[in-house]
Each structure stands twice: as structure tokens, then as C-alpha cells.
Symmetry: none
């Protein structure tokens, strides 16, 4: 399920965070659903458990997951905000890119046509 790019400058643990967030936003991972244990995820991906642990800690810090000790790690109950945040973040990126293209000499209309 998780896809790692070892060439990327983005650290492995951050790639995990982003992809879990993405699955949550897409509804593939549902509220209250349990996600694999640190150890399972680590062996699945063939990476160090410490790396997975770091990702899970960050996910919890962001409010995407909740960890209940002795029970496991679960997707948070309210995932709506996560979706909205992701959308806003992507829109912002698009706005920046459009502005950058405008600086290269194209008008908004031309850009719209090319999309």
C-alpha cells in the first residue's frame, strides 16, 4: 500500500506520513480504522521499525491518528478537516504555479487554454 522512493530527498518517514494522510483524505483509510503495527509495517516495507515509529509519531502529532497503548494505532474520528486542509494546500500550490508561469510571459487565459 505504501510506496517508497529511496531516491527522493524526502525522508522515508515523511513519505509514509504523507501517504497515510493521502489515503485518509481519499477515504481509503476510514475513521476509527486500525492501521498496521509499527513492526508489521516495518517488515512489510523492509525498513527499520524506528523509521515507522517516527512516522506514526508525526501522524499523531498532526491529529491524523490516535494511538491507544496496548491496543494499537487508529485513524482519528474527524477526518473532514484533513481533507479540507489537503485541498487548500493543493489549491495554494496551483495558485503559486500559475503566478510563476505568468512571470514567464503567459496570460491567465493562455494558461487556462493549455490545461
Amino acid at each position: 500500500m505504501i510506496n517508497l522512493d529511496y531516491q527522493s530527498r524526502t525522508p522515508i518517514y515523511e513519505q509514509i506520513v504523507e501517504q497515510v494522510e493521502r489515503y485518509v483524505a481519499l477515504g481509503i483509510l476510514k475513521p476509527e480504522e486500525q492501521i498496521p503495527s509499527v513492526r508489521d509495517m516495518a517488515t512489510d516495507l523492509g525498513i527499520n521499525p524506528n523509521t515507522v515509529k517516527k512516522a506514526y509519531t508525526e501522524l499523531e502529532r498532526r491529529g491524523v491518528t490516535v494511538t491507544i497503548s496496548t491496543k494499537g494505532t487508529f485513524i482519528a474520528s474527524n477526518t473532514k478537516k484533513i481533507v479540507e486542509d489537503k485541498i487548500e494546500e493543493k489549491l495554494k500550490k496551483i495558485r503559486n504555479l500559475i503566478e510563476e508561469i505568468e512571470q514567464l510571459g503567459l496570460t491567465k487565459e493562455e494558461i487556462k487554454k493549455m490545461l
Copy 2:
């Protein structure tokens, strides 16, 4: 002219590469124009010559500049392609982002309105 962010995850040499590319795309740096020597750029930016050298090497590899040993480093003659490539690259990113937002449940119309 070059602006460095030492906090960024992007290495310094790559920041130089990107900014020179950008100035070329914007037409601020013109074809055949000479850019500062490795040493000058290094003292200007308060960084090590090796770091500048690394940036210049990468710029040449990308075809943005041409280096003539003992003469200096110059902007390449065919600057058009660089601009076009940069635009195409950004459009591609926008297309990807739009698709990702669609997967999060918005239609193309809704996205257009929000931009």
C-alpha cells in the same frame, strides 16, 4: 541577485541552479551573457567556491550555461527551450494537482471557481 535560504531543505547549490535558471527564463540573464566567476559569486554570497562550482557544473549539465575554461561561464545561446521546458514542467505539476483534488471529491468546475 541570488537569494539563499540556509534553513531550506534544498541545498545551497541547487538554490543557485534554480535561481539562475529562473533569471534566464525571465530574460534577466540573456543568451551569451557572462555570469560571475566562481570565485566572485562565492565571495558575493559569502559561501565556498566549491559550492558555487557544483551549481555551475549542474547548470552546464542542464544546458543552461556553457563553461569555457580560463574564460568563464556564459548563458547558453538557445534560451527559448529552457523557458518552454520550465513552463511545460509547471503545467504538468498543475495538471497533477488538479487530478489529485478531483480524487478528493471536487469537480473541475468547483476547482476552477476556487482559483
Copy 3:
């Protein structure tokens, strides 16, 4: 394994690149095989790690190796193309040389005899 000629006009890092490429082409270094760490290779050859790093970076750029940060550097999976490229490159050089000799007044038959 690597043999350096300090008198040569060819820089050390490029000698490393060429010899690794050669070992790959000869099948001595096999796909997916790990090559020595930057530090190990450097101490083995009695040179600076930066020089080895430069060679490894170039090898990756050429698609001969794949580097995974914190894991090491490995020979690429598709080694066949590298061999074919090397052969084609050498054939091309021979064709050029033959043409040059022809211009000096010898026929193809004469050249064939002298080889």
C-alpha cells in the same frame, strides 16, 4: 580492484567511473551488487572521500549505479544496456578512425590487411 594513474590527464574521479563501468560491462560487477561505501573506497585507494563521491555521483547520473541514502551504492538492474552502449561507442570510434585513415590514402582492403 580500481587502479589509479596519477600522471594521467584523466582526473581520478573519472578513472574510477570508467573502471567501474568497465567492470560492470565485463560482468565482474553484477546487477544489484553493492559497491564499497564512499569512505571505504576512499581509504582503500588512499584518496579523499570527496573524490570518490564525485565518481559515484557521475556513475549514478549515467545510470550505472543506484544510490540509496544511508544504505549504500548499488549496480543498476539493467546492466545489458550499459554493455551495448559501450560496444556501440567503441565501434563508432573504430569507424571514425578507419575513415580518417582512408583520407590519408589507404583503401579499406589495405587497412583490413594491416590489422
Copy 4:
């Protein structure tokens, strides 16, 4: 007439030497023929006279040219040996290349077919 490649690792003065030698071998420059003065060649090529001087000195050392002070620089009388040397040099390169290709797994017959 002389074609310079500023990207090449071969120094400019050496490129001049090689090309003059080549023109002599090809019979384009004939025995006893006068070649341009250092100053003329330098302005023609847009390079430093010192560089041309260095090339001419090397040509004389190799016996390709003879300099008569106050008169100028002339192609040597016996150019036969130069041609023969060039041919032998190129044949040697071809033999080496063939051997290298053999090491990559092809037989002499296969190489002959591909040429």
C-alpha cells in the same frame, strides 16, 4: 581552417598542433608551404598569441614545421614520415579498441560484421 572546441579537455594549443598535423598528413598543407604568422593565426581564431606560439613551438619540436626567423614558419620538407606515423598511430588505436570489444564478449568475426 582550424576548428577549436573550448569544451574539450584537450588544451587549445594541442588542438592546433593536431589539426595542423592532420592537414599536413592530408596533403592540404604542402611541404615548404608557409603557414600564417603567430599574430595572424591568433587574431583569426580570436585567441591569445601565446597560445599559438606554444602550438608552433610544439610543431617545430615534432619536426612538422620549420621556423626561419624574420621569414616565418614553413611546413617541413619531408612529410612522408608524418603520414606514416599518423596511420600507425590510428591502427594502434583500432587494435586496442578491437581487443576491448573482444573482452566484452564479441568475437573478431562479429566485430568485422558490425563494421
